[in-house]
């Protein structure tokens, strides 16, 4: 039905765009990762030093592990909060489902910065939470670990990514035909057993999609550590940012970025394969 000319006209501009604004920049980044910086100037001297620096520098390795730990924690907590919410809304909320759904997506699309800032004002030693605790005489002095700690980063990122995790999960759950639940009950399975044997397996694609989102985006986050994390919570993306800023070592920064890019692409590929296997 669609002529070759039609298909050509339709495909060419986006292909060009992708090539120019995605492929070329990624390629540049890749190229930079093999170059060096000497006395503040980037030299196009091809080598693998950046990558070895990356894996041999104990600071970088520690930061990487911390980033992964934080990302895993955030993903786990987001699922812990998001799954029961999605399940409740899909199976037990009845006609209120619609309104509740809107209530969930609102925080999702409201500025990241606004939400991060909110946590900053809440968690500080002069912040709202401390004030609240002192007001109720639960504590006498400000609790210091609330702000400028990995705890704060995890808290803020969980807040950001719970709706992210919720969305594909909810879509997956909604997709499950209700008569399957009825059939399961009919055959003698209690609601709990039905959840474990029917609902959970069928929700895995959505779960996987949401978890991947949360993990990758938390891993590459650099705003949260700056807003609420403090020096003890530097994550890998902060290192990259400083390498492109004051620390001025673009090649090294590019190398780390390439690693993150590769990690993301690999994870995406893996989850895509898994999702195909798990979707029915």
């Amino acid at each position: 039905m669609y002529s070759r000319a039609y298909k050509f006209v339709v495909s060419l501009p986006p292909l060009l765009w992708v090539a120019i604004f995605l492929l070329v920049p990624y390629a540049l980044m890749l190229a930079h990762s093999f170059w060096l910086v000497r006395e503040g100037v980037i030299i196009h001297h091809w080598n693998l030093q950046n990558y070895s620096k990356l894996f041999h520098n104990p600071v970088y390795v520690e930061v990487l592990f911390r980033s992964v730990r934080i990302a895993v924690t955030v993903t786990f907590l987001s699922l812990l909060l998001g799954y029961p919410l999605a399940y409740y809304m899909s199976f037990h909320a009845g006609p209120r489902k619609d309104i509740l759904y809107q209530l969930v997506i609102i925080p999702l699309w409201v500025s990241y910065l606004v939400r991060g800032y909110a946590w900053k004002t809440i968690l500080g030693s002069e912040g709202v939470l401390n004030g609240f605790l002192q007001y109720l005489h639960i504590t006498k002095e400000p609790v210091s670990f609330l702000l400028y700690s990995p705890f704060a980063v995890v808290l803020m990122l969980t807040h950001i990514y719970t709706p992210f995790v919720f969305l594909p999960l909810y879509a997956s759950l909604e997709h499950i035909p209700r008569n399957l639940v009825e059939a399961s009950h009919d055959l003698g399975a209690s609601p709990c057993t039905t959840f474990l044997r029917v609902i959970l397996p069928l929700s895995l694609p959505g779960l996987l999609a949401g978890a991947t989102f949360a993990f990758v985006l938390s891993l590459g986050d650099f705003l949260a550590p700056i807003l609420v994390g403090g020096p003890s919570s530097i994550m890998i993306a902060n290192i990259v940012q400083s390498l492109f800023g004051t620390a001025y070592d673009w090649p090294l920064g590019a190398a780390i970025s390439v690693c993150i890019l590769l990690l993301t692409v690999t994870l995406l590929y893996l989850t895509e394969r898994l999702e195909k296997r798990w979707s029915f």
């Binding site: 035909p177 009825e182 059939a183 399961s184 055959l187 003698g188 397996p201």
Partner: protein, 367 residues
Amino acid sequence: MTLPTSSASANAAEETISAGTALLEVREVAKQFFGHQVLKNISLQVAAGEFLTLLGESGSGKTTLLRIIAGFEQPTSGQVWMSGIRLDVLPPYQRRVNTVFQSYALFPHLSVKENVAYGLRVTKVAESEIPARVADALRMVKMEEFADRRPGKLSGGQQQRVALARALVNRPKLLLLDEPLSALDANLRKQMQGELKSLQRDLGITFLFVTHDQDEAMALSDRIALLKDGALEQIASPREIYERPATVYTAQFIGQTNILHAEIRNGVATSGSLCWPVALRNGHALFSLRPEAIRLAAESATMPNPVTFHARVIQQIFSGASEQLELDCDGLRLRAMIYSRSPLSGEQEFAFSSADAIPVRNSKEPG
């Protein structure tokens, strides 16, 4: 003004099943959905080992009643009892009742044999027993070859068999079937009907079958329960329900009929220019006369108590073995069905046996 109909006592005999053999008892079950009365105080009994069909149009409440028995809906009032246990307070997973769903509802992430084994596993049947029972069930529905397939790779008819096996493997006391054949094409449907009937006979399990297709109901059932607007019109064997319909609706829903509005005086019913003897009180009455009861007078030599009349043939439609005639008897329109013959024209003489004019009542009136 209503009259006692001769079919009432016959129906009463059909409806009463001695308490000992009743497996399922529906007592005054009513259901309201958002102000709409879907079921209006239904009471019926299902005998152990019988094939009972709930027949009705969409909106008649038949599916709702089935779902209440299965446990997916709660009655607004009334009770459901099975073998001395009150069913309606139990959740579906505690009832010895299994359902074959209209859309099969097979678990897409499990293979055929895991689907069938599901009920056994979740009720903690001994692991050692399971493979044998599953294999048996699959053999019963002729699906042994497909044990390792996924439902997504099966045709509609195949899925339906698996759904059946999945329900039967649990040896339920009562099997509920919610229009299981409606998604199949005509040939497959006929075939499955035969298989279902023999399966039920062989296993002796009580089947409660829901359909809107009257031919299906007639072919399969020991008894038919006809539902209209949430109320029970009549419950009787297919033959009884066809030959002695209790109401106008029943007479018209199952098969075809002519409804005659008659006045009775002194033992004679008169409808238009038709009159025939009846043993009923004076007054107004309704009668059902099946088209096949009307024959050409010339061919009715051996008819008992014949009532003859003249009518003009308006339309004659050839249907292979029979002819559908539309007659005009002094303004009264009648349908007749006779054996095939060459075209008739103009005025002819017809006859029907007075015993074939069955008194019926309107649905709303008490029987």
